[in-house]
């Protein structure tokens, strides 16, 4: 099989993950294209986190293949995938709480040009890394917060900080695990705006529970149930799908659309 679409950046081909006897993901196929936001939906325990962990390299698949721009990257570690151009944010805020916002993002930027042997150079004199960090802080909507300590930011700002860190690594594919979780409606709306802007030049996979947000920004939606893909297609198709409605019937997570 070949990557049919020109803009396809990341392709997952029948990836499967077993935990002992449990099939957490079974033959999941996903394609992330530049300029498109692909949302991953499903009830708790559907296997969304397992899927994103396999794509980011945090968890090796039991079988299947992951390709980035046509190149097989299934065996790469998380650090190697970051170097290729895949960045991720985490469901539970994963930052350096005692560092400033700038230092959080500067460290991310520095990862693109590592010169560990230059132990007498000064990190704060690497202007390129600082400039890039400041640009990414702006892009994630955190302008003016650079000198704040990351740990005392509001929850929503910390989620934005995560995005800024991913951007500073020049990631072409953004794997975002519930970036809107725990956000108020204002914060949420701002984040959706940020996502819209980021999508223009990159490929985004969005794992999210907030249905309104998902249907507002997604170009493609994949619904997972019990570790398998139930349905995948444009929002209108998902909305009309009987299978999806049945899967969600009786769940607390029913669609409100």
């Amino acid at each position: 099989m070949t990557d049919t679409h020109h803009a396809a950046l990341l392709v997952a081909e029948r990836i499967t993950r077993r935990f002992g006897g449990l099939l957490a993901n079974q033959d999941v196929c996903l394609t992330l294209e530049r300029g498109k936001l692909h949302a991953l939906l499903g009830p708790n325990g559907a296997g969304k986190s397992t899927c994103i962990n396999m794509l980011s390299g945090d968890l090796p698949p039991s079988s299947g293949q992951i390709r980035y721009q046509g190149r097989d990257i299934t065996g790469l570690t998380a650090a190697q995938r970051s170097q290729v151009g895949i960045g991720r944010s985490y469901q539970r805020t994963n930052i350096f709480p005692k560092f400033t916002v700038l230092e959080n993002v500067r460290l991310a930027a520095q990862s693109r040009r590592q010169q560990p042997w230059r132990i007498f150079s000064q990190a704060m004199k690497q202007q390129w890394a600082i400039d890039k960090a400041l640009a990414c802080i702006d892009e994630a909507g955190l302008a003016g917060r650079a000198e704040r300590t990351a740990g005392i930011l509001s929850h929503g700002e910390q989620r934005q900080l995560e995005i800024a860190m991913v951007l500073a690594t020049d990631a072409q594919v953004l794997l975002l695990d519930e970036p809107l979780a725990g956000m108020g409606s204002d914060e949420s709306a701002r984040m959706v705006e940020v996502l819209r802007r980021l999508r223009e030049t990159r490929a985004i996979l969005l794992v999210e529970h907030d249905m309104d947000a998902v249907f507002a920004v997604a170009d493609t939606i994949t619904v997972m149930v019990n570790g398998q893909v139930l349905e995948s297609g444009p929002p209108a198709q998902i909305k009309a799908s009987i299978a999806v409605q049945e899967a969600y019937l009786g769940q607390e997570d029913t669609f409100h659309v």
Partner: protein
């Protein structure tokens, strides 16, 4: 403005006055303390800045001490400029090799495996004739600083030796401080804060930790080298887990992740050892109690005291 710089210069100035007092006992005691302070700083690079709690740091101290002892001929002085790089290099190399294995583990396992390797090094010297077995060996002649017929200083002279050690302390302090400002140092601090995040940002953290481990081993080797030169005698005890535990206590006592704290911790440790052992032969019991109290009531160690005093003076309101 540069209040802390003035304090530091005053401290170095004060230490520089010690040999002028003519009290040889105290000069040697403080020389020994300065050596231990270098040792504590080297461990703090791992424990306080990289988040790697090593319980086997004495191995590198001891390997460097044995290197100078084994390199010194019986009836003449070896060259300082040869033995010191060799000793430090041997310690760093040992740390590099051991690091490849121990850094595959984490947390409590890391503590145990570093201890296990240090014990192996201990027994390598204790149970083989290589370094005189359990009796150890003498360094009969202190290394000479002579270079091409010119003798800049003489380590046989206790005052020169004292200033040499003080200079090494300042150099190691400046060196580690500078390294921590570098992109490399920032990565180490990032690893301590959140290693998983560093990996997902594209850092192969194993390599950074290995470099830090070797660097700390080499710096610990400087301390071990100086120790052998000061005392003219090395025994396997230098590599024992007591020694590893003591230096860890100095770092904890001083406050992890603070170089001045590591130095203060070494001074506090030696002072307590002196005071309590003059009182009672059960001095380790008294010292244990003080350390427990310090951990309970002064979580940031000695280095947290200035900030506490400042807070108290400002009525406990401001924190800067």
């Amino acid at each position: 403005m540069r209040y802390d710089l003035v304090l530091k210069l005053a401290a170095v100035g004060g230490l520089a006055l010690v040999p002028l007092s003519g009290a040889d006992f105290y000069t040697e005691l403080i020389a020994k303390t300065l050596v231990l302070a270098i040792f504590a700083m080297s461990l703090d690079l791992l424990v306080g800045y990289t988040g790697l709690v090593s319980l086997g740091h004495a191995a590198y101290f001891g390997i460097a001490a044995y290197t100078v002892a084994l390199m010194s001929p019986k009836y003449e002085a070896a060259s300082l400029w040869l033995t010191m790089p060799a000793a430090v290099g041997a310690a760093a190399l040992a740390a590099l090799v051991i690091g490849v294995f121990v850094l595959r583990t984490k947390g409590i396992y890391f503590i145990m495996v570093t201890l296990a390797f240090a014990q192996m090094a201990f027994y390598a010297f204790h149970d083989t004739p290589l370094g005189g077995g359990s009796d150890g060996i003498y360094v009969n002649m202190k290394p000479t600083a002579e270079i091409a017929g010119f003798m800049p200083f003489d380590l046989d002279n206790p005052t020169h030796l004292y200033y040499f050690i003080l200079a090494m302390l300042v150099l190691v302090y400046l060196f580690v401080g500078r390294v921590l400002q570098s992109p490399f140092g920032r990565v180490l601090v990032g690893i301590k804060s959140n290693e998983h995040r560093m990996q997902s940002l594209g850092y192969v953290t194993f390599r950074y930790k290995l470099a830090a481990f070797a660097l700390a081993g080499g710096l610990g080797g400087i301390a071990g080298y100086l120790y052998a030169v000061v005392f003219g005698f090395v025994t396997p005890e230098l590599l024992s887990w007591h020694q590893s535990g003591n230096v860890l206590l100095m770092v904890i006592l001083g406050g992890m992740g603070n170089l001045v704290g590591a130095i203060a911790g070494a001074f506090a440790f030696v002072a307590m050892q002196e005071v309590f052992s003059a009182w009672t032969k059960h001095w380790q019991l008294a010292m244990g109690l003080v350390i427990v109290a310090a951990v309970l009531f002064l979580p940031g160690g000695l280095s947290a005291i200035p900030a506490r005093i400042k807070r108290a003076l400002q009525g406990g309101s401001a924190n800067d």
